[in-house]
Point group: C2
Chain length 160, copies 2
């Protein structure tokens, strides 16, 4: 699956699934009513490297960002976020994006990666575990899930 | 010890110890070279409530902020940060600020508080523990401490 760094004009291809995922309020700790402008400022921030995954026809089916999780003395720990079009899941896009981003993070000199807020009911928890991430801890009763009630947020980590 | 919400014109009283603490690069995961302008944007952000502690003579000896740690479905979990003038430590300022901020957070409807990156060698770890915070987990080898070498970053939590 081709994965490349995103350009500014990829945003209109990312926004439809970005909006759908955040509005569902099941996996991201962001305002489900985030406007397109605020979403673009958040996802396409100059502080982030953004990637897109394309299917064989060149359709953008997923996106990821890579950035530093902290500054100054802890700036070698990375953070990343991943979104796959809900209509295009189950085809390895998330794993391909994660493999790519992990490899990029290592090449950029990051020594570890942290996910700060993984909703514990998110099926991606199993993907992260299969990629070597462990749960450092869980913020209890932190996330109001529309179907599962109040659930925890995992902090997940992997050395690079 | 009087603690009150900060006004914009308190910033020049906060900046000297803010700068000294961040430049020391022992307790905060922020760029030690952060400029005054960037520091003010960070600490006095409109998304944060900022407090100052004053000594009997009205001198600002510490500051704290309170904000949401996440958005949307997890917006009831708070985050806070604390700084006490290094020349004025050991007089209960940190504890007084923390008591005040915890009380404010609870009154505002937050159900828990998370510290995302507590340097494990920071003496404040004992203060947070005495206030009921527990270490949810530790990001290993995440922080380059100028005297202790590479140390971990605790994620600490307390229910409200």
């Amino acid at each position: 699956m081709p994965i490349r760094q995103a350009a500014a004009d990829d945003w209109p291809r990312i926004w439809p699934f970005w909006h759908r995922i955040v509005a569902a309020a099941e996996t991201y700790a962001w305002d489900p009513d985030t406007t397109e402008e605020a979403a673009r400022a958040l996802w396409m921030s100059p502080a982030k490297r953004v990637y897109v995954a394309e299917d064989d026809g060149g359709t953008v089916v997923g996106s990821a960002y890579l950035t530093a999780n902290y500054g100054g003395p802890a700036s070698r720990i990375a953070n990343a976020g991943f979104m796959v079009d809900p209509d295009r899941t189950g085809r390895g896009t998330g794993r391909a994006l994660a493999d790519h981003v992990l490899s990029e993070a290592k090449a950029l000199g990051y020594t570890g990666m942290v996910f700060n807020a993984v909703v514990e009911t998110n099926p991606a928890v199993a993907l992260w575990a299969s990629l070597g991430f462990t749960v450092l801890g869980t913020v209890p009763e932190a996330y109001e899930h529309p179907r599962h009630g109040t659930v925890g947020l995992h902090i997940m980590y992997r050395a690079l």
